[in-house]
């Protein structure tokens, strides 16, 4: 069930109505059944897998909690993590391993072909793997007691607004909220609904309009020249942001409709003035998960400079590989890690140079330059993320230096833009959309609240004007047909 389908809308309305109608002691069970119903629509076999994984995690955490010795606790933790991560790796990388085995076998003169099980990556497998892994580690580290109520734990792993692509919640964040389900509160509900509408606007108006241009260029990068390839890449960075943060807004907004507070996933990442600051603002739930459960256990920055840099590179490499088995994803991750390391290593020197930079005399110009540089660095990585494979990414870069002299010929520029699919139908909504997104989120950040809360705080007339502008933008320019969210594939 996609979030933009009529079927999901009916499902959500029915769930909300029943959730607030059932007695408090049945709310969690109801929500679990609703989440399981939602998940089972994606496939019965994968639903069974989710239930089994949740049950095993429940048992493992219980044993860890009851174990008297560290050895038993550690053993159980390792078993639990192997089960969870092994399950994830099997579904995500079986095909890739199979292909490599077949190639290796062929090179050795064997006709071996690994069995093809026709596996698809189960919906939300990454989400519930990270969520349950974090939970097991939290129990092991005594940050929380094992959850004795299976319904709550299963709900934590399968909560339908989040299960598709997160945000990746913590056991110390969402799980305790199931102990005290909130009654219906109009303001909270309004914030949730506003956030959902904002998410729809970002995804279906801004992101999907940018996608029209980006998809056209990446269909065949060999026919486009440097300026247009660069423009497509710049568009893609923003498309990815609006697509993923739009999904996050919808997910967080939906959780809010039920009265739950969920971890934020984005905080205006393109307002970042350093690369490390960008990664503190981008996909916050996952990057903080990696930091807490991988980076810190590896020693973080406490084991010397070289070790710190290696840890950073490893985290980003793992992040890249998690996104996909292709070499292009690994390179994307590694490149981000390299930029982080270089940024860290050159921090002092850059501060000295910044003080001497005449452009930085004006605060606004300094901010603009820094934001622009960070955006370009991010975009330089994102090409590997977007490209179908490494070959296409390399082709992209090989053609980046071509065609810049065309910029001196207005007709050539217009033709180039037309070939990309940039015209009034795409240009105007994109420009207005981007300005709207940046301005709106800047205002919300200034007031220290979420976008949903910011909209709800406006005076009535202003609030209705915002709602109608967003709804009319969706009605006139939204691409609500069959588009899906980019991060659903991960």
């Amino acid at each position: 069930m996609s979030f933009q389908s009529a079927r999901f809308f009916v499902f959500l309305i029915v769930c909300l109505f029943l959730y607030y109608a059932v007695p408090k002691r049945w709310k969690n069970l109801f929500l679990l059944l609703a989440s399981w119903f939602f998940y089972s629509c994606a496939g019965t076999a994968y639903f069974v897998l989710l239930v089994v994984v949740s049950a095993i995690s429940y048992v493992v955490a219980d044993v860890i909690g009851r174990a008297k010795t560290k050895a038993v606790q550690t053993t159980m933790l390792v078993l639990g993590l192997v089960m969870l991560l092994g399950n994830l790796c099997f579904f995500k990388y079986y095909d890739w391993f199979g292909r490599q085995l077949a190639i290796a076998a062929s090179n050795l003169g064997s006709a071996y072909i690994p069995p093809d099980y026709g596996l698809a990556v189960p919906l939300g497998i990454s989400f519930y793997t990270f969520v349950l892994s974090g939970y097991l580690i939290d129990v092991y580290q005594r940050k929380r007691e094992p959850e004795r109520n299976f319904v709550k734990l299963a709900l934590f792993a399968s909560f339908f607004p989040l299960v598709s692509s997160g945000p990746v919640e913590r056991s110390t964040g969402l799980l305790p909220q199931f102990d005290r389900p909130a009654p219906f509160q109009y303001d909270v509900f309004c914030q949730g609904a506003s956030r959902i509408l904002w998410g729809f606007f970002k995804k279906f108006v801004v992101a999907d309009t940018l996608a029209v241009v980006v998809n056209r260029v990446f269909l065949d990068v060999t026919v486009h020249t440097g300026p247009y390839l660069l423009l497509a890449a710049l568009f893609y960075s923003y498309q990815l942001y609006c697509d993923f943060s739009g999904y996050s807004d919808i997910a967080i907004g939906m959780a809010r409709l039920f009265g739950f507070d969920v971890i934020e996933n984005f905080r205006r990442p393109f307002a970042a003035r350093s690369f490390s600051d960008l990664w503190r603002r981008w996909h916050i739930s996952l990057t903080s998960w990696f930091r807490q459960y991988l980076y810190f256990p590896l020693g973080g920055s406490r084991k010397g400079t070289i070790r710190t840099y290696l840890n950073i590179l490893l985290i980003f490499l793992v992040s890249g590989i998690w996104h996909g088995s292709g070499l292009n994803f690994a390179i994307w991750g590694l490149l981000n890690g390299v930029y982080m390391v270089l940024g860290r290593a050159s921090g002092n020197r850059r501060a000295v140079l910044a003080r001497r930079n005449p452009l930085y005399r004006w605060a606004w110009l300094k901010a603009l330059c820094q934001i622009g540089i960070v955006y370009l660095l991010f975009t330089s990585c994102i090409v590997f993320f977007r490209a179908e494979n490494l070959t296409q990414a390399l082709w992209f870069y090989s053609r980046l230096a071509t065609g810049w002299t065309d910029l001196f010929h207005p007709m050539a520029v217009l033709n180039g833009l037309r070939n990309m699919g940039v015209g009034y139908a795409t240009g105007v909504p994109v420009l207005i959309g981007v300005l709207r997104v940046e301005w709106g989120e800047w205002r919300a950040e200034k007031e220290g609240c979420s976008m949903g809360a910011w909209i709800c705080r406006r005076p009535f007339a202003q609030k209705m004007a915002i709602y109608y502008l967003l709804l009319l933008a969706l009605a006139f320019w939204g691409k609500l047909g069959t588009s899906s969210f980019i991060y659903f594939q991960f």
């Binding site: 009529a6 026709g118 998809n215 056209r216 269909l219 009319l472 969706l474 009605a475 006139f476």
Partner: protein, 358 residues
Amino acid sequence: MKRFLKGVLCFLPFVILIVGVNFYADPANVLRTGYERTVAEILAGGENASNLRNMDDRLFMEEYVSLRKEPIGTLVLGSSHSMQITKELTGDENTFCAGMTGADLRDCISAYRLFRENGFTPERVILVVDCWFLCEETQEPRAMTDGYEAFCKENGLMPVQTEAAQFSLKKLTQKWSQAVSLPYFQSSLDYLKKGLQNDRDPVATDSFYTDTDMRRADGTYCYNQELRNVQEDQTHDRAVNYIIATPEFAKNFTTVSANLENQLIAFITSMQEDGVQVALMLPPFHPEYYTYMTQTELYTKILMVEPVVQQIAETCGVRLFGSFDPSKCGLSALDFYDGLHCSDQAMYRFYPENLFDL
């Protein structure tokens, strides 16, 4: 609660705007009734129905079969890919193309049985086999399934996705969900911008080609002039659009189903037992789209359908013509209206002479 209801009421003007525009324009004729009957009456009267808008092809078939009087010599079954097989092409005046948009194997079986049960068992059948016919995950949600269910029951076969009652409910909810649908609103605005709302009724004509979309008396489909008179760069753009959009059959295709293979064989056999001569056709793709398919992993399994159909034709002893590969049909980019549909003139290049020894 009062505050909540007041909040909801504030959005009523927006809902009224959407519903109002959708009802007034209704470009796909999903909210109005009687359209299919009107078209069926024109065709049954021996004329072509031009100024055609979107209609429910399945409902149209049911209306048409109740109005037709003459016997059918050659019955053409399939999706929109079958709708360029004219009576001029077959050489049989009593040709009728019962093609339906997006038709799958279940549609074809149901359509054949619909005609047979109404006394129109044809002498010959041309079955246009699309790649999605043989995959259980790419079946058409709109498909006719009554005849298909009965066929499966008679032949001891396992029917695929035939929750008829659920589908009727789905159809009803689909109709009303279109009323509030934002994508439909955008289509409605486009429709109104072109001033088409005052010109929605089908018009009877004897012309073979018209400026508008048309369904001819022999059941074939004539696309509008803009689509027909396509230039090379336009057909390239349309092929590219298909590639970018990745049609549903490509997104959902998993594997060739042995169950559906058996059903196709059983269907051909049952038609032969009815004394019908059967021929199969594989519809070609646009050259650019086909090239993309051969180079893309997503389509590898889809292209496997062709050898499977070849094998089935051999097993059943029926003639097979055409191919997914346009070069095997002698077709170039200019022979296509878009990524999937070749022109009626292009059909002459690969339609065999004496397919049925007429």
